[in-house]
Symmetry: C2
DNA sequence: GGTGAAAAAAACTAGCC
DNA sequence: GGCTAGTTTTTTTCACC
């Protein structure tokens, strides 16, 4: 059923019909998924370009020390969408969006200002083949 | 106002109150954002781990040729969540989720099977500092 | 766990400022 | 563009299977 959730704001009744259930039953299932935490939250997908965030950049951040704590430091930089520790040669992978490549410079400067950061390697991603949700098996 | 959308399934009335508007006006604003395409769609955020997709991996795919078309080839591999052309040394950045690192091997095998792929460099991401939506300025 | 209907609460609509 | 008040639709609850 999660398949359907990926696509809509549709009524529980419609959901139910799509999977052969009554409105009440469908609602109950969704409620349980929410309760169990399978469904974390309901959101809207926003068009980054429409918000003046058209440029997508990935930055590999190398550090000289263990970067387990300064998560907050990354969060403080506006434009950064994701920051995750990675197991490869770099230490942190950052995904960020800016209005133009010019502003990227500013973000990089702020990244270097973070304690322990010894290097960055930015990669601009002009085109997206596709981007899709987690996709479970039908349930 | 998009700020509020990132967090809820809440009523238009509540949205309105949060930003000092009536229910009707808030509803109208949201409708317009949807119409203009700023809001692409409404979705639910699913917990990847709860669906047996607990391992997050980024793969840099190097190719010997221009990979402008085979987007579909990446889409055919289950587990791949995002695939984007990048401007750096590698050609495509792939973000995927699997149940365990063991299955990663299978995905890599399928990536190599794609026409033009000459190499891959996988990086496991065990921890997420944070992950957040596009975040516009308040409007 | 599912059904079906009643009750409550939203989403929408429209006329007016 | 926003407000208020009405109409419609949906969500939500509940007794019963």
């Amino acid at each position: 059923m999660a398949l359907l959730q990926q696509d809509a704001t549709q009524a529980c009744a419609a959901l139910g019909k799509a999977v052969g259930l009554s409105a009440g039953a469908a609602h109950e299932r969704v409620r349980k998924l929410r309760e169990r935490g399978v469904i974390r939250r309901t959101t809207v997908e926003v068009d980054a370009a429409a918000l003046g965030q058209g440029v997508l950049v990935f930055v590999m951040v190398e550090s000289s020390a263990w970067m387990g704590e300064p998560g907050a430091a990354f969060g403080a930089i506006s434009g950064i969408q994701e920051a995750r520790i990675i197991a490869g040669s770099a230490s942190v992978l950052v995904k960020l969006r800016t209005a133009a490549t010019m502003q990227l410079q500013d973000v990089l400067r702020r990244l270097y200002a973070i304690e322990g950061v010894s290097g960055t390697q930015a990669t601009v991603a002009p085109e997206t083949f596709f981007e899709r949700p987690v996709s479970p098996r039908a349930d």
